[in-house]
Symmetry: C2
Subunit: 166 residues, 2 copies
């Protein structure tokens, strides 16, 4: 249902802007095969409908001095909804925490964190995360190296899927 309102041109626009979010509208229009004004109208519509949530420059964390990336698996004592969302609120305030996802299974949350160095991360860990209300356990794993870090969604999978149902 959700993608029913998107035609192939809309999907191409999303794929192109996911790959290069700073492309000019005339370049985008050329690539998707329509002229510029209707292309811009489609982009605005996609933005307003929430298909496009924003645009972001992808900055090089390492080159900026963030040498450390860590995944933290967090278990809580209480999984009552108010306790879950209290923990989520904390995560939103911690700027070293870039992503916070609630999981099924043994662990309650996985956090992706970045820090300039290990000692900055360690003091966050011991001073903030481990001592936060309701936190029962934290297991951390350092990222040794990153092999792939692609933004967003795979549009090729989406097209395959639509072809099968057509």
């Amino acid at each position: 249902m959700p993608t029913t309102r998107l035609d192939p041109i809309d999907r191409k626009i999303l794929a192109e802007l996911q790959a290069d979010g700073r492309m000019t509208n005339v370049e985008l229009a050329k690539r998707v095969g329509i002229s510029a004004p209707p292309c811009l109208r489609r982009v605005r519509t996609l933005e307003e409908a929430g298909f496009i949530k924003g645009y972001h420059a992808d900055v090089d964390a390492r080159e900026l001095g963030f040498e450390v990336q860590v995944y933290a698996m967090v278990g809580l004592q209480s999984q009552a909804e108010s306790d879950l969302s209290a923990f989520e609120d904390l995560c939103r305030k911690w700027s070293l925490v870039r992503e916070c996802n609630m999981l099924n299974g043994e662990v309650d949350f996985i956090l992706k964190c970045v820090a300039p160095d290990l000692s900055t991360f360690q003091s966050f860990l011991t001073g903030q995360l481990l001592t936060a209300r309701n936190v029962a356990s934290v297991k951390t794993s350092l990222v040794i190296r990153s092999a792939k870090d692609d933004p967003g969604v795979p549009f090729d999978v989406l097209e395959e899927r639509l072809n099968r149902s057509a």
Copy 2:
């Protein structure tokens, strides 16, 4: 050392473009307090120096029909460098795998995957990931809900750090 060549205006540019990658150059120039031409030159320099790796529209995966997000923890049989990079090459080819990071500790890799539905993910899991050469174990965790998903790095931490060393 890496950030030594960036002055406060460069850092502001990076922070602004991370927050809104489609901002016009005149708007950006106004925000960082210089006129448009030098601002554009700085952006180009930051791009060429690799501080900015690209620009991406942030598309709403759920609204596009990707209902499922999964973390997969992968253990390999052999951790020889050639086997590690062979596995990384596979991950780069699998479009459901959006991120692949090598970790320290018990597990060798953490993969972040998206899929339209559970059965698509399951068939990837059993047909591709579990049967790939050298894969010893895979533990998967479904994302129940996402509380935070911020792009890039926390510039407030960077500024704090520079203030302390000054």
